[in-house]
């Protein structure tokens, strides 16, 4: 089984990259490089170190923002899910946050917090947090009543019911919220670098486009997608490690 899904992944990657290569060779657009050109640009940027210095810059707001969103988001989500009063108080904030057109709000954030790290962390959080909070709260609220009743009848204390029953029962949905939140966080990080100040990977994208170095631009975009996919896989590993019984066959692996 593992074998077959591994080969399927390889095949689907080959098909995608092949299609990219063909589309670049036609070419569908003057501004669309082939797969191999983009990869060689990626290798060049990796070799001369620009890619790594860029990521050092980009990862800072990303990691800080995702970490804040994950811890605060799950914490708030638990709280909202457990208490209807906090649901009433906090849920609307996150629903508005999720629906808000972020690109239009960025100038406001810049006015309030300047063009530094703070604004970028904010952008990542606004992107990542609502889905984490709302998923966690919904999952906690939907814990099967009979499981909670079971805990009480076997003399669990309230903290034990939360730690041993509610959180594990909610974990599949919490993790799917985390996956969505983290991918939104990646989008937020790049958005911040494109909209606030061009630094890191956003700088490579903006600068390469301005000098018409399209292979480098696509290489930068490709690298951030690759990083996001790797990170999401890591998150899934963590879930499997923490809650083995949750595994009923995910699409990957």
């Amino acid at each position: 089984m593992v074998r077959r899904s591994f080969w399927l992944k390889i095949v689907s990657a080959l098909v995608l990259f092949g299609a990219w290569q063909v589309a670049g060779m036609i070419p569908v657009s003057y501004a669309f490089p082939t797969f191999l050109e983009s990869m060689s640009a990626l290798a060049r940027m990796a070799a001369d170190g620009t890619l790594f210095t860029a990521y050092l810059e980009t990862l800072r707001p990303l990691v800080v923002g995702v970490a804040i969103s994950a811890f605060l988001g799950i914490g708030l989500g638990l709280w909202i899910g457990l208490s209807s009063r906090f649901d009433w108080l906090f849920s609307p904030i996150f629903i508005v946050m999720q629906a808000a057109p972020l690109a239009a709000l960025i100038p406001l954030l810049v006015m309030a917090y300047g063009i530094g790290l703070t604004s970028k962390v904010f952008v990542v959080c606004i992107m990542a947090m609502p889905v984490i909070v709302l998923n966690t709260a919904g999952a906690v609220r939907n814990t099967p009543a009979s499981l909670k009743e079971m805990g009480r009848s076997f003399l669990a204390s309230d903290p034990e019911i939360i730690v041993k029953i509610i959180v594990p029962a909610a974990s599949p949905v919490i993790f799917s919220g985390l996956r969505l939140g983290v991918s939104a966080g990646f989008i937020g990080a790049v958005l911040a670098e494109l909209k606030i100040t061009p630094t890191g990977v956003g700088d490579i994208i903006t600068y390469s486009r301005s000098i018409a170095d399209y292979p480098a631009m696509y290489a930068a975009i490709f690298s951030i997608i690759l990083l996001a996919v790797l990170f999401l896989n890591l998150l899934e590993r963590l879930e499997v490690y923490l809650f083995e019984g949750n595994v009923r066959g995910y699409a990957s692996d």
Binding site: L147, S153, P168
Partner: protein
């Protein structure tokens, strides 16, 4: 509507009447304006199986949850071993209709979960759980997860969990209603063995007349609107007969018939 004739079908006076493991006195429970239970009094003799039987909506599960301490009665009180119930206690264990197993935990951890919540050390609680997993016939499935088991096997895990905490009173809420007919028959036979060999008091909620007559020492028939105990039946002679012959015993058939006669007007 014709009120059913209320009568004692079989009653053996004097037998173990003094020693009750559980006593419910004057229990009332209202949800808003809905009366789920009204001034209900019932005694549960020690070491015996008492069924709560009745049509849906008669409050039998509510009564069981009040005895478990999961619900507070609006009036009245429950005593277990002479002590009033204020909440869930170590003297009672619950078997759930929908099994209530932790889907992320394997059979061993599920069966040991009651002990885990009581703070029993890991090696000790797993040894106890293993013993009861074997007793309910699931030896070899310790590492399996609930979604890998059939409904009947899942309920066996629920039973092992309740047995592992070694409570005096076992509360079973329609435990066999979610398993198929053949598994249910096997369960009923196993339950008779359990009642005979474990020195525990069983309180068993069911909506199946045949099941109640087959497994019970005492059947309390509950009727709705307003909820009350309409009669108590003790199929005393059946207990001493061979389990294989119970279902064609004339006494068994008579009791099943008479219970149906008193319940039929309440079933819409």
């Amino acid at each position: 509507m014709v009120m059913p004739q209320i009568k004692e079908v079989v009653d053996v006076p004097g037998a173990q009447e003094a020693d009750n493991a559980v006593v419910a006195r004057g229990i009332s429970k209202t949800y808003g304006s809905v009366e789920a239970l009204k001034n209900l009094t019932l005694e549960f003799p020690r070491g015996q199986l008492t069924s709560l039987l009745g049509p849906s909506g008669c409050g039998k599960t509510t009564l069981l949850k009040i005895i478990a301490g999961l619900l507070q009665p609006t009036a009245g009180e429950v005593e277990v071993n002479g002590k009033p119930v204020t909440g869930p206690g170590s003297d009672r264990a619950f078997v759930f209709q929908d099994f209530a197993l932790l889907p992320w935990a394997n059979v061993l951890r599920n069966a040991a979960f009651g002990l885990e919540l009581r703070g029993v050390a890991k090696s000790e609680r797993e040894a106890i759980a293993e013993k009861y997993i074997a007793e309910v016939g699931l030896k070899g499935f310790e590492k399996a997860y609930p979604h890998e088991l059939s409904g009947g096997m899942r309920q066996r895990v629920g039973l092992a969990r309740a047995l592992a905490v070694d409570a005096d009173v076992l509360l079973m809420d329609e435990p066999f209603s979610a398993v198929d007919e053949q598994t249910r028959r096997k369960f009923q036979e196993d339950l008779l063995n359990l009642v005979k060999h474990e020195n525990k008091t069983f309180i068993f909620v069911t909506h199946s007349i045949e099941e109640a007559v087959y497994v019970s020492d005492q059947i309390a028939i509950l009727l709705p609107r307003p909820s009350r105990v309409s009669e108590i039946i003790r199929p005393a002679d059946l207990r001493h007969k061979n389990v294989d012959n119970i279902r064609r015993d004339p006494e068994y058939l008579d009791i099943v018939d008479s219970i149906w006669a008193s319940l039929r007007s309440y079933v819409e």
